[in-house]
């Protein structure tokens, strides 16, 4: 077994996800979880979160205005974006780790 100290982001990743989903914030837990999962959200948040997850480059000022006009504060928008970004990157990361396990036969 390799005795060197090797880096591992698992615990940091778990802590980050717990912080943004369960930590102190303005957006409801349901909205934060929905943004993370890109699932189970009502409009206009649903369309916006899917854009953050899959086409972040194309987000415009108008997209933010739509959320603000729907009554969300800037802090709620901030939290929704952070949860959506971490959620999509987490799905990619876990997909790749599963591919690594499949390739090596180890978990």
């Amino acid at each position: 077994m390799d005795a060197r100290i090797l880096s591992d982001i698992t615990s940091l990743h778990n802590a980050l996800v717990a912080r943004v989903l369960e930590g102190e914030g303005w957006a409801s837990s349901e909205i934060r979880r929905g943004a993370f999962a890109n699932d189970g959200l009502a409009e206009p948040v649903r369309t916006f979160v899917d854009k953050v997850a899959h086409r972040a480059k194309t987000v415009t000022d108008a997209d933010i205005s739509t959320l603000r006009k729907a009554g969300l504060s800037e802090d709620e928008v901030y939290e929704i974006v952070v949860c959506a970004a971490i959620g999509q990157a987490t799905r990619q990361y876990q997909n790749a780790l599963a591919a690594l396990s499949a390739a090596t036969g180890r978990t």
């Binding site: 982001i9 933010i64 970004a85 780790l97 591919a99």
Partner: protein
């Protein structure tokens, strides 16, 4: 930035620090720093990014900075491409190699191990999925299982950061500020 809170919503100590940064660096505070210091009890990804980019690994700091630039190029995130192209160029002491890798991965003067790894990170970033065959190709190029894990950690960090930079509308700094930022990231890291 698209949310005023990210420009002006920081606490008084952080605002005072921004003034010091402006005075001593001679550059405006970059948007990535404003984001990192906004409500740090909520997002605070610096520790994870630091571990991925500077933690113990068989990849060099330069290799990992190139991975960050490459993932950001696939996401078309101008701010992060500029910042990490500059940081990787400085870390390799070879800007031509970094430019070549970002322009055409197949012909760039890289080890096969790094090339195969960047290709895998590119596919994951673009398509959100990779499979065991993609991983086997990277292993066959001489990359260890742990190096794959380390590269995936870099991709995770930048697939988050790129989305935030694009959605919040990070301004791309002028070249002098970008180079100052690159020197800072090599000297001090991401914390």
């Amino acid at each position: 930035m698209r949310l005023a809170i990210l420009d002006h919503g920081h606490g008084i100590r952080t605002k005072a620090m921004f003034i010091l940064i402006r005075v001593f660096s001679g550059h405006p505070v970059v948007d990535a720093v404003k984001l990192a210091l906004y409500r740090p009890s909520f997002y605070r990804a610096g520790g994870l990014t630091q571990e991925a980019m500077r933690g113990p690994s068989d990849w060099s700091v330069a290799d990992r900075e190139l991975m960050a630039a490459y993932v950001s190029k696939i996401n078309e995130t101008e701010f992060c491409v500029a910042a990490h192209t500059a940081t990787a160029s400085l870390a390799f002491n070879d800007g031509a190699k970094v430019s070549a890798a970002l322009a055409d991965l197949d012909s760039a003067p890289l080890t096969e191990a790094l090339r195969a790894t960047l290709r895998m990170l590119g596919k994951l970033t673009r398509e959100n999925n990779i499979d065991a065959a993609d991983i086997r190709r990277v292993l066959a190029s001489g990359v260890s299982e742990h190096q794959i894990r380390d590269a995936l950690a870099v991709a995770f960090a930048f697939n988050v950061t790129d989305r935030l930079a694009d959605v919040f509308g990070f301004a791309v700094d002028d070249p002098a500020a970008i180079n100052a930022g690159a020197k800072y990231l090599l000297a001090r890291g991401y914390r």
